[in-house]
C-alpha cells in the first residue's frame, strides 16, 4: 500500500532553475571561471520557483492520488532470466523479492514524493552516526582494531549531511594521539601496530575536523620513514610491517604522500631501496595495472577476482599520481573496466554489486559508484579544460551525460538502504542492520550520484623520451569542479536531500583536502 500525506502531489514544490548554463557539447567555449565552484554551491546559486498550482492548493480540489511515478524497470524482475536454480540464483531471487516492496514504496507508512521516493532521513542518520562515535558497548570489542575507521566513517557521513564536525576537533586530537606510534603511523588503538588503513582513517578524520592543532598531531617525519619500510620492490605497499601487500596499500600510500606532501626519497631501510633510482611512487601504477583481471575489473592483489572496492582504490590511486585523462588509459584497459563497472548495476534493485553474480550492497554505491566520476574524467567527456571535445587520450568516445543509471542508484539508496526504524543509519540492503561503514559509503555514493565532476586541467606534457608519465603525484593537484547533477528529465528526489560533494579521489570535501594540503605544503622539509 502506498501511504502518502495529504497534498503530497500538489504541495508547494520548489524546483531549481540553474543560473549557470547547462552546456555539455560546447563546454570548452564557456568560461570556466564564470561557473560556480564547489564550495560556492549554496542555495544562492539557484532560484526557487513555486509551481503555479501549488500555492492555490486546497484539500477539496484534490483529484484521486495518482500512482507515484516509478518506472517499470524498478518494479519488475529482469526480462531475461534463466530457469536453472543454483545457490547464486536463489540468493539473487530472494534479494529481488526483498527489495521490490521497498522500491515500490509498499514497505510501510512512509511519506513518499511524486516519484515514489521517501526523504533522506537526515535527522535519524545524524543521530545514528553521533551514537556510533561512542562510547560503544562491550560487544564492539571485535572492532577494537578498527576504531579509527569509526572516526572517519562518522565524521565523513556527518559532514556530507551538512553537520559541522569541527566541534569534535579536541576529541579527535586526543583520540588520535593514543593511536600514533613513535615509529610512525597510526594503529587501531593504544599499543597496536601502525597500519595503513587505520592511518588513512585517522588522517582523513583529522582533515575533516581541520585546524592546525589537529594537523600538528601527525608526526610527518615518522610517517615518511614508516611508509618507506612498507614500500616493496614491485611498487606496492604492505599494509603494515609483516602484513599483506595489496591495492588498498597503494591507494592509501598515495593519499598519505600527497596530503602530507611527504618527500619521495626512500630511506636505505626501505625494502625497495636501490641506491636512489626508485622513490616512494616508483612502480605504483604498474602494481595497479597488475591487479586488473580478465573480466576488466580490479582485484586486491594480482590474480584474484575482480571486486568493486579495489576498482575504486585503483582508479583513485592513479588519479593521484597523474592526470586521470592520461594515467588511467596508460595503465588500464578502459573499455573492459567500463564494461565491468557498468555490469555492477542491477535492475530492478538499482544498486551496485561488488562482483559478477554477487548481490547488490549499499556500500558499493561508493566503491563502484565512486569510480564513475574518475572514469568520466578519464574519458574526457566533461572537462571544460580539455582542448578537443569528443576526443580523448584513449581514442575512445567521450562519456555520455552519465555512464550509469543515477536514478537507479538513488532509488536503491533512498528506498532500500535507509533504516526507517528509530535506529536510523544506512545499510547494505533491506533486513540488514545499519552500521557506520554502510552509512558513510552509501552517503558517499548518493553524493556522487547527485553531482557532476569536471576535471579542469589537461595533462602536463611528457618530457622528452617519456612514454608514460613520470610519477610525481601530479594528479593530486588536478583541478576538479563540481556541479549539482541535473537530470534532463525530472529530478526524482527533493533538493533538500542533496548531500555535500566529496573529492573524487580523497573521498572528503575539497575544502578539507585543500586545508590539510596547504598546511603541509609549507613544510616540505622536516623543520
Amino acid at each position: 500500500m502506498v501511504v502518502r500525506t495529504k497534498g503530497a502531489r500538489c504541495r508547494n514544490r520548489a524546483i531549481f532553475i540553474r543560473k549557470f548554463p547547462k552546456q555539455k557539447g560546447n563546454m570548452a567555449a564557456s568560461n570556466p571561471t564564470s561557473r560556480p565552484n564547489l564550495d560556492a554551491i549554496t542555495d544562492d546559486d539557484f532560484e526557487y520557483v513555486d509551481e503555479e498550482f501549488g500555492s492555490s492548493y486546497s484539500p477539496d480540489q484534490v483529484q484521486p492520488q495518482p500512482e507515484p511515478m516509478i518506472p517499470d524497470l524498478f518494479k519488475q524482475p529482469p526480462l531475461v532470466k534463466d530457469d536453472l536454480i543454483t545457490d547464486t540464483s536463489r540468493l539473487q531471487d530472494q534479494t529481488v523479492d526483498h527489495c521490490l516492496p521497498f522500491l515500490a514504496g509498499e514497505d510501510g507508512p512512509l511519506e513518499l514524493n511524486d516519484y515514489g521516493l521517501p526523504r533522506l532521513n537526515r535527522e535519524k542518520h545524524v543521530k545514528f552516526l553521533k551514537q556510533s562515535l561512542g562510547p560503544l558497548p562491550g560487544r564492539f570489542v571485535a572492532m577494537d582494531a578498527s576504531r579509527p575507521w569509526f572516526l572517519y566513517w562518522c565524521l565523513s557521513g556527518l559532514t556530507m549531511m551538512g553537520e559541522n564536525v569541527s566541534s569534535y576537533r579536541e576529541s579527535v586530537i586526543a583520540t588520535a594521539r593514543t593511536m600514533q606510534n613513535e615509529s610512525g603511523g597510526f594503529g587501531g588503538g593504544h599499543g597496536q601496530l601502525s597500519h595503513l588503513a587505520t592511518t588513512y582513517s585517522v588522517i582523513l578524520a583529522i582533515a575533516l575536523v581541520g585546524g592546525e592543532d589537529a594537523y600538528d598531531v601527525i608526526d610527518r617525519k615518522g610517517m615518511w620513514k614508516w611508509l618507506c619500510t612498507l614500500k616493496q620492490p614491485d611498487g606496492g605497499f604492505q599494509v603494515c610491517m609483516g602484513g599483506e601487500e595489496d591495492i588498498r596499500g597503494a591507494y592509501i600510500a598515495a593519499v598519505i604522500i600527497t596530503l602530507l606532501d611527504l618527500p619521495l626519497d626512500l630511506t636505505p631501510e626501505s625494502p625497495a631501496y636501490d641506491g636512489g633510482r626508485s622513490n616512494l611512487l616508483t612502480g605504483i601504477a604498474e602494481y595497479v595495472r597488475s591487479c586488473q583481471t580478465f573480466e576488466g575489473g580490479i582485484s586486491s592483489q594480482p590474480n584474484n577476482e575482480a571486486h568493486g572496492a579495489y576498482a575504486f582504490c585503483a582508479l583513485a590511486c592513479l588519479a593521484l599520481l597523474d592526470n586521470p585523462r592520461r594515467v588511467i588509459p596508460s595503465y588500464l584497459d578502459v573499455p573492459r573496466l567500463v564494461s565491468w563497472l557498468s555490469y555492477r548495476q542491477y535492475a530492478p534493485e538499482g544498486g551496485f554489486s561488488g562482483r559478477t553474480n554477487k548481490l547488490v550492497d549499499g556500500c558499493y554505491s561508493h566503491w563502484v559508484g565512486g569510480c564513475f566520476p574518475l572514469l568520466e574524467a578519464c574519458l574526457g567527456s566533461s572537462g571544460s579544460g580539455s582542448k578537443e571535445k569528443n576526443r580523448t587520450a584513449t581514442g575512445l568516445a567521450a562519456a555520455p551525460e552519465t555512464l550509469y543509471s543515477r536514478e537507479g542508484l538513488i532509488r536503491y539508496i533512498l528506498t532500500c538502504c535507509q533504516d526507517q526504524t528509530k535506529r536510523g543509519g544506512l545499510r547494505d540492503k533491506p533486513y540488514k542492520m545499519s552500521d557506520a561503514y554502510h552509512t558513510n559509503y552509501v552517503l558517499s555514493g548518493l553524493s556522487s550520484a547527485q553531482h557532476q565532476w569536471d576535471l579542469d586541467s589537461d595533462p602536463l606534457p611528457l618530457s622528452e623520451g617519456e612514454t608514460t608519465p613520470t610519477m610525481a603525484a601530479l594528479g593530486a593537484d588536478s583541478i576538479w569542479n563540481v556541479f549539482p547533477y541535473i537530470d534532463d528529465n525530472d529530478q526524482i528526489y527533493e533538493d533538500s536531500d542533496r548531500v555535500r560533494p566529496i573529492h573524487p579521489a580523497y573521498a572528503i570535501p575539497q575544502k578539507n583536502v585543500a586545508g590539510i594540503k596547504a598546511y603541509f605544503q609549507g613544510r616540505s622539509g622536516f623543520a
Binding site: L73, F150, R355
Partner: protein, 568 residues
C-alpha cells in the same frame, strides 16, 4: 478495625478503609486517627529490601499511594501526598525560586504539613524492583547483588575497600619501578629510587591478594592473568585513553586485562609459550586483531614451533570465523616460513599441497565465494607450484558444477590456466594477448565455457570467461559468432519476433559486428539493449554506440588518407 499500635499492618486489612499515615506531632487533632505507614514490611533481609524500606520510610505518603491508590487515602494523607509531590517536583529549584513558584503561604503550609512525617527532606528517588540490575549489578555468578543478605553485602563492601587499598599501594610500587628505571632522584632524600627485593616480594603478595579479591568480587575471569603465578613478573600496561576519546569501547574486563598484558610483553619483545597462549586468549575474544596475529606469528617463528601443528589449530579458528581475513594472512606467513623446509622433497610438498586443498575445499563448502580464501588459494598455487596438479582443476570444476554462477571459481580457473609459468609470459596484462598461449588450450577453454553457457545463458561468468580466453589467445571474437547468435533471434524484426535469451550474447554480438566493421548491425544490438533488453545500462550502451561512430570515423579518415596517397 483491630487496634494497631506499633504493629505492622497487613495490607489486606487496610484495603477497605482509608489508609492514614499523617503523624501526630504536627497536628494534635489527628492524633487518634494515626496509623503506621501502610506498607511497613517486616525487617528487611536483603539489600534491595533495605533500600526499598528506606525509601518508604522517607516517602510515607508516596509509599501508601503506591500500595492503596490515592483515592483510598484519608483526606489528610491525600493532602500530605500532594505536598510531598509538590516539594519533590520543585526540589531541584533553589529555595528562593521555589517559594516564588508556590507562593510564600503555600510553601509554608507544605512544610507545616509534612514536617513531622519524616518525609521529603531526605526523600529518596524510587527504584523499581524490575530493574535491580541497574541498581546493584550482578556478581560473577550472574546473581543480582541486590538480593544479597545485608550481612553478605557488608562483607562485600569491606572487601572492596580492602581491594582499593591494595590497588593504591600497588600503584605506588609500580610508580617506583618506573622511577627506578628512569634514575629518578627523590627530592627529599636526595637519593635515587631503588625498589628492594622486599618490596617486590610484598608486591607479589599484594598481587595475589588483589587477584583473589577481584576474583571474588568481579568474577573468576577478571583475575585470570593477574592471579596466575605464571604472569606474576609482568607489570601490565593498562589501556590509556583520555576522557572523551571517540569510539571508545567499554571493554569486557577479561579483554582489557589480556590486552594490558599483551602491551607489556610486546613492549619487551618477549617470545614465549605463555605469550602464545595469551595471543590465543585474545584471538578467542577478538579474531580481527591484526596486531595479535602478527605477534603470534613472531612467537611461533622465534620459538621454532611446529608449523603443521599451528595450521591444525588455525583450521579450527578459521572454521569458527569464516569472515575473518587476518587468519588467511597468518596462514600465508606460516606457509612462507614452512615452504623452504619441504621445497626439495616432492613427496612432502605434494602431501602438504593436498592437505591444504582438502582444507580449502572444506571451508569453501561453507562459504563458496569467500574472497580471502580464494586469494589465499591462488597464492598457494603459485607458491607450491600446483599448476599441473590435476586435482586442483578438478576441484574447481566440481564447484562450477555445483553452482555454475560461482564467479570466484571461474576466476580461479582463468588464473590456473593462463598464469601457468610454463607458458604464460610474465608481466602480460590479464586483458592482453599472450602469444605463448596455444590454440589447443584456447579451444579447450572456449568449449568448456560454451558448454556451461547452455546451462544458463544469462549467467555472465562463462561469457566473461570465454571473452577473456579469446583475447588471451589473440583470437577474433568473430570466431564464436555462430555460437553467440544462437541466443539472439530475429533482432530488430519486431517486438513479437525478436527474442533474446542472453543480454550478454547481444553485448558480445555488438562487439563482433564492430570488429567486422558492420557498424549498423552492431548499433542495432546496442540500441535494442538500451531500449528493451538491458535498460539499466542505458548510459553505457549509449557510450558504446558513440564509440562505434568514432571508430568508424577513424576508419574513414584513414581510408581517405590512403586514397589521397594513392591518387598522388
Amino acid at each position: 478495625m483491630p487496634p494497631k499500635n506499633k504493629v505492622a499492618t497487613k495490607p489486606k486489612a487496610t484495603e477497605s478503609a482509608p489508609a492514614t499515615i499523617t503523624t501526630t506531632t504536627t497536628n494534635p487533632t489527628t492524633t487518634t486517627s494515626t496509623s503506621q505507614p501502610a506498607s511497613q514490611p517486616s525487617e528487611p533481609t536483603t539489600v534491595l529490601e533495605r533500600s526499598q524500606h528506606r525509601y518508604e520510610q522517607t516517602r510515607p505518603f508516596e509509599a501508601a499511594r503506591r500500595q492503596h491508590g490515592l483515592s483510598k487515602l484519608s483526606k489528610e494523607d491525600q493532602k500530605g501526598w500532594i505536598c510531598d509531590q509538590l516539594l519533590h517536583l520543585t526540589d531541584r529549584l533553589p529555595a528562593a525560586s521555589r517559594s516564588r513558584l508556590l507562593g510564600p503561604k503555600a510553601s509554608k503550609e507544605i512544610w507545616w504539613t509534612i514536617n513531622g512525617t519524616n518525609s521529603i527532606v531526605r526523600g529518596l528517588k524510587y527504584k523499581h524492583k524490575s530493574e535491580p540490575h541497574t541498581t546493584w549489578g550482578t556478581d560473577r555468578d550472574g546473581h543480582d547483588v541486590g538480593s544479597y543478605s545485608i550481612e553478605r553485602f557488608d562483607e562485600r563492601t569491606k572487601k572492596r575497600i580492602a581491594l582499593t587499598a591494595l590497588q593504591v599501594s600497588s600503584r605506588v610500587f609500580r610508580e617506583n619501578v618506573e622511577r627506578e628505571k628512569r634514575g629518578y632522584v627523590d627530592a627529599r632524600s636526595g637519593q635515587e629510587v631503588i625498589v628492594t627485593e622486599r618490596e617486590i616480594d610484598e608486591e607479589k603478595v599484594r598481587r595475589s591478594k588483589m587477584a583473589a579479591l577481584k576474583k571474588e568480587l568481579y568474577g573468576e575471569i577478571t583475575g585470570k592473568l593477574a592471579s596466575s603465578v605464571e604472569w606474576e613478573d609482568v607489570v601490565p600496561i593498562p589501556h590509556e585513553e583520555p576522557e572523551g576519546a571517540l569510539a571508545a569501547i567499554a571493554y569486557p574486563a577479561e579483554y582489557a586485562e589480556a590486552m594490558s598484558y599483551l602491551r607489556a610483553v610486546m613492549s619487551k619483545k618477549e617470545y614465549s609459550p605463555r605469550c602464545l597462549r595469551l595471543t590465543e586468549h585474545i584471538i578467542a575474544m577478538n579474531a580481527a586483531h591484526y596486531t595479535v596475529w602478527l605477534y603470534r606469528a613472531a612467537n611461533i617463528f622465534a620459538l621454532g614451533l611446529s608449523i603443521p601443528e599451528e595450521i591444525e589449530w588455525l583450521n579450527e579458528v578459521a572454521l569458527a570465523n569464516l569472515k575473518n581475513y587476518q587468519i588467511w594472512h597468518h596462514r600465508h606467513l606460516l606457509v612462507e616460513h614452512y615452504y623452504p623446509t619441504i621445497a626439495s622433497d616432492p613427496t612432502a610438498l605434494a602431501q602438504f599441497a593436498k592437505q591444504e586443498r582438502d582444507f580449502l575445499i572444506a571451508i569453501l563448502s561453507e562459504d563458496t565465494k569467500n574472497y580471502h580464501v580464494w586469494s589465499y588459494r591462488s597464492w598457494l598455487v603459485g607458491k607450491l607450484g600446483m599448476w599441473e596438479d590435476e586435482e586442483e582443476l578438478k576441484s574447481i570444476e566440481t564447484l562450477i558444477d555445483e553452482d555454475v554462477r560461482n564467479n570466484s571459481a571461474w576466476s580461479h580457473r582463468f588464473f590456473l590456466v593462463f598464469s601457468n609459468p610454463k607458458y604464460a609470459t610474465p608481466g602480460k596484462g590479464a586483458t592482453e594477448r599472450d602469444e605463448k598461449v596455444t590454440q589447443e588450450l584456447v579451444d579447450r577453454e572456449v568449449k568448456y565455457a560454451q558448454e556451461k553457457t547452455y546451462l544458463a545463458p544469462q549467467n555472465q561468468s562463462p561469457w566473461n570467461y570465454m571473452r577473456g580466453v579469446l583475447v588471451k589467445g589473440g583470437q577474433q571474437l568473430a570466431s564464436v559468432q555462430g555460437f553467440v547468435e544462437e541466443f539472439v533471434v530475429k533482432l530488430g524484426e519486431g517486438e513479437e519476433e525478436e527474442e533474446v535469451r542472453s543480454t550478454h550474447a547481444l553485448d558480445l554480438l555488438a562487439e563482433i559486428y564492430a570488429e567486422k566493421g558492420e557498424n549498423e548491425k552492431a548499433d542495432l544490438c546496442l540500441r535494442r539493449l538500451a531500449e528493451k533488453w538491458d535498460r539499466i545500462r542505458g548510459g553505457y550502451w549509449e557510450w558504446r554506440r558513440k564509440c562505434l561512430t568514432k571508430s568508424a570515423k577513424v576508419v574513414e579518415e584513414e581510408t581517405e588518407k590512403v586514397e589521397a596517397v594513392a591518387v598522388a
